[in-house]
C-alpha cells in the first residue's frame, strides 16, 4: 500500500467511541456513588429517620457526574461532521482522549463519592446521636 492511504474515513470510529466512553464511564461512577451512599442512607435511616433527607447530598453529587458525561458526549458527537468541517484522524484521537478523560475522571469521582458518602452518612448518624445526648 502506498502512502496515499490516509485513515481519515475511520476517524469517526474513534470520535464516537470517545463520546461513548465519556457517557458510559461517568454513568458507572454515578451509579456506584448513588448505590453505595444510598445503602448507607437506608441503613442509617433505620436508626434516625429524621436525618435521611439531610443525607441525600452524596446522591445528588453523584448524579451530577452523569450530567457531566452527558454534556461532553453531546458536544463530541455533534462535533463529528465531515461535511461541515473535515475530520482527520487527529480529530478522532483528540475526541477519544477527551471522552476518556471525562469518563474515567467521572468514574473515579463517583467511586470516591460512594465510599466517602457511605462512611460519612453512617458516621453522621452517630455523631448527631452523641451530641444530642450531650445536649440532654
Amino acid at each position: 500500500m502506498s502512502s496515499a492511504f490516509s485513515g481519515d474515513e475511520t476517524a469517526p470510529f474513534f470520535g464516537f467511541l470517545g463520546a461513548a466512553a465519556a457517557l458510559v464511564f461517568s454513568c458507572m461512577g454515578a451509579a456506584y456513588g448513588t448505590a453505595k451512599s444510598g445503602v448507607g442512607v437506608a441503613s442509617m435511616g433505620v436508626m434516625r429517620p429524621e436525618l435521611v433527607m439531610k443525607s441525600i447530598v452524596p446522591v445528588v453529587m453523584a448524579g451530577v457526574l452523569g450530567i457531566y458525561g452527558l454534556i461532553i458526549a453531546v458536544i463530541i458527537s455533534t462535533g463529528i461532521n465531515p461535511k461541515a468541517k473535515s475530520y482527520y484522524l487527529f480529530d478522532g484521537y483528540a475526541h477519544l482522549s477527551s471522552g476518556l478523560a471525562c469518563g474515567l475522571a467521572g468514574l473515579s469521582a463517583g467511586m470516591a463519592i460512594g465510599i466517602v458518602g457511605d462512611a460519612g452518612v453512617r458516621y453522621f448518624c452517630h455523631i448527631f446521636f452523641i451530641s444530642f445526648h450531650l445536649l440532654i
Binding site: 500500500m1 502512502s3 492511504f5 490516509s6 485513515g7 481519515d8 474515513e9 475511520t10 476517524a11 469517526p12 470510529f13 464516537f16 467511541l17 463520546a19 461513548a20 457517557l23 458510559v24 454513568c27 458507572m28 454515578a30 451509579a31 456506584y32 448513588t34 448505590a35 444510598g38 445503602v39 442512607v41 437506608a42 441503613s43 435511616g45 433505620v46 429517620p49 435521611v52 433527607m53 441525600i56 446522591v59 445528588v60 453523584a62 448524579g63 452523569g66 450530567i67 458525561g69 452527558l70 458526549a73 453531546v74 458527537s77 455533534t78 463529528i80 461532521n81 465531515p82 484522524l89 484521537y93
Partner: protein
C-alpha cells in the same frame, strides 16, 4: 498508535477498520443496545426481588408498595428495546460500490457507538436501581416512613438510564447513509 513508522504512512488501526463492513458495526451496536440493557434490568430485578421477598416474610405490608423498585428496573429494559428499534430503522441498503464509502463507514460507527452507550448506561442504571431498591425494601420493613425517602434516591439512580437514551438518540441522528444514485 500505529504499527508503521514511516513518514506519510497512516495508522494500521485504520487499515484494519476500513475493511470491516459498516453493517457489521451496526448489527453489533443494535444487539448490544438491547442485550446489555436487558442484562442490567434482569440483574437489578433479581437483586431487588430477592430482598423484597425475604423482607416480606416478617412484614407482608411492604410487598405492593415496593413493586415500584421492580418497575424502575424494568423501565431500563424498555429503554433498550426502544433504542434498538430506533437504531434498526436507521439501517438503509446501500449499493455495493458505496459500502466502504466514508459516509457509510461513519453511519456504521454512529450506530455502533449509540448501541454501546445505551447498553452499558442501562446496565449500570439497572444495577444501581436494584441495589437501592433492595435497601429500600429492607428499610421499609423496619419503618414505613422511610419508603418515600429512599425512593427519592432511586429516582436519581434511574435518571442514568435516561441519559444513555438521550445521547444514544442524538448520536443515531448522525447515521446518514450515502444517497442512492438516481
Amino acid at each position: 498508535m500505529s504499527g508503521s513508522v514511516m513518514l506519510g504512512e497512516s495508522s494500521s488501526w485504520s487499515r484494519a477498520l476500513v475493511k470491516i463492513s459498516p453493517y457489521t458495526f451496526s448489527a453489533i451496536g443494535i444487539a448490544v443496545a438491547i442485550g446489555v440493557s436487558v442484562l442490567g434490568a434482569a440483574w437489578g430485578i433479581y437483586i431487588t426481588g430477592s430482598s423484597l421477598i425475604g423482607a416480606a416474610i416478617k412484614a407482608p405490608r411492604i410487598t405492593s408498595k415496593n413493586l415500584i423498585s421492580v418497575i424502575f428496573c424494568e423501565a431500563v429494559a424498555i429503554y433498550g428495546v426502544i433504542v434498538a428499534i430506533i437504531l434498526q430503522t436507521k439501517l438503509e441498503s446501500v449499493p455495493a460500490s458505496q459500502i466502504y464509502a466514508p459516509e457509510s463507514l461513519r453511519a456504521g460507527y454512529a450506530i455502533f457507538a449509540s448501541g454501546i452507550i445505551v447498553g452499558f448506561a442501562n446496565l449500570v442504571c439497572g444495577l444501581c436501581v436494584g441495589i437501592i431498591g433492595s435497601s429500600c425494601a429492607l428499610s421499609d420493613a423496619q419503618n414505613s416512613s422511610l419508603f418515600v425517602k429512599i425512593l427519592v434516591i432511586e429516582i436519581f439512580g434511574s435518571a442514568l438510564g435516561l441519559f444513555g437514551v438521550i445521547v444514544g438518540i442524538i448520536m443515531s441522528a448522525q447515521a446518514s447513509w450515502p444517497a442512492k444514485p438516481v
